[in-house]
């Protein structure tokens, strides 16, 4: 049971990573980040079956932090929308370096 849950969580995490790397819309990238966070939450819940309730407590920490991050992140996306009238990262090119 644990192995399946961890495998599912790894698969969701990977989908999130791939989404962040190939999509160009800021909102969708942000959704992929949330998917990654929730994949980790799934791991924590699965592990808590073996190690006690700690893992479930961590999930609440992560959910709270994710909510705070979402509030700030959406505000930042709105601020860039006001400058560019778009949230597409085509011309921002994140990984230019």
């Amino acid at each position: 049971m644990l192995a399946e849950a961890l495998a599912l969580s790894a698969a969701l995490f990977t989908i999130g990573v791939v989404g962040v790397l190939i999509r160009r819309n800021a909102i969708i990238i942000f959704m992929c980040v949330e998917l990654m966070l929730n994949a980790v939450n799934l791991s924590f819940v699965a592990l808590s079956r073996y190690y006690g309730a700690d893992g479930q407590v961590f999930v609440f920490f992560v959910m709270t932090v994710a909510a705070a991050e979402a509030a700030v992140g959406l505000a930042i996306i709105i601020s860039i929308f006001r400058h560019r009238q778009s949230v597409n990262l085509q011309n921002i090119n994140l990984l230019r370096g």
Partner: protein
Amino acid sequence: MRTFDLSIPLDLTAALAPDISLMLGAMVLLLWAAWGRESIARQRAVGAASMLLCALVAGMVLFFMWTDSTVGPGPVAMDGFRWTADLILLLATFATIALSMDYNERERITSAESHVLLLLATSGMMVLVSARDLIIVFLGIEIMSVAVYVLAGMNRRSDRAAEGSLKYFLLGAFSTCFLLYGIALVYGATGTTNLTEIGGRVAAAGATNPLLLIGMALLVVGFGFKVAAVPFHMWAPDVYEGAPTPITAYMAAAVKAAAFASFLRVWMEAFPDVFVQWHYALWWLAAVTMVAGNLIALAQKNIKRMLAYSSIAHAGYILVAVLARGNLGSSAFLFYAFAYTLATFGAFAVVVVLSGRGDRYLRIDDYAGLWTVRPWLAGSMAVFMLALLGFPIFGGIGFFAKWYMLQAALDSITPLARLSVILVLTSVVSAGYYLYVVMVMFMRPVSRPDSDPQPVGRLTRWVIAAAAVLILAFGIFPDPVVRLTRSSVIVPIDR
């Protein structure tokens, strides 16, 4: 001397007293900042109150340091390493607020909450350097990062700031996920998130569990993003360029120092017994960061981008301290962080002065002939550049920082001879861009059309003067800093 028992709630609160007072004070100031019309005067008043709060919290930290408090097993640590790192972070925050007050006035940013956000970010950093539990590490990093995402975009009129802040947010949140997944896998492998207990279980079981190794690799990726180590550095130059200059200095000095302090603690308390497994990964990370950071910095024309790549290179130097391990590594790190903080704030304060309203003059060539127009400013900038380079005497404390780093690398249990050679060679390469700035200031004719001196805020002038004087004075008498950092070691709980 008093030992705090962290299973008692009151003792846990007392152990976190500086962090909690900073948070509470920041929240009170936030209410005050939000309570009336935005204006320059209110922005300055909140800034002054924030600086006072920083000083009070620093006093509290000094009190704990002086009483030599220790702590039992639990989620937070109380040792010299934590207190000295706290002091460096508070010094950086103090300088940032001073610079921000002048910078915000010049750029007509009237939002007083920028100072409060700095305090909140610093409280997250203080939690981070005290954390002895991976979940507290996660919380500290997030409290810090969420505030800094906003700070990067504080100048709402600037297109570049919005873009930089979006990049920082998306890549920061992305990297946090890696860190968190690493924490989950380490928890899966060991059944605990407490660093002491992880250390014990890893020592007993060895590093045979693939979950543990993948978890450690993900933790390296997460920390690597936060400290901007190559290849996880691509956000840094754009974000540093877009953010308001005082915030750039804060990100380069404080955010990096806090993330590194936590990195050191996690690696020294939880994973000292699996050294063989992580040694090569971190070795290559350090080598690549030093080489790539310095080489790309050579090609930069914009002073903020140049300093961004230079800060990436310095992350590489500090990674050597992580590899050196033990008390040598942690005290070399603290010494380096102190020297680097002074030099970074000095350099960015000069950038604040010279960029002019609207940040028009950010090319290195704009500094041509500064020596003839403003000799003091040019002289201080030369000191900061030489300190970042690690030049003897004129670079002051910067020389000793590199010296102790090399000493830690060579004296560690597994001497890092080849890495030390790379450190020295890349430092020589870095002379190419640090000395270029000095050369442009002192040997080129004035090129700017309006070369009349820009007015300097009084606080900015103080930051520049204090940084230059401290760098030179500690360059001649480094003993107090050496003694402090030597005694500030990570004290793990006996397993």
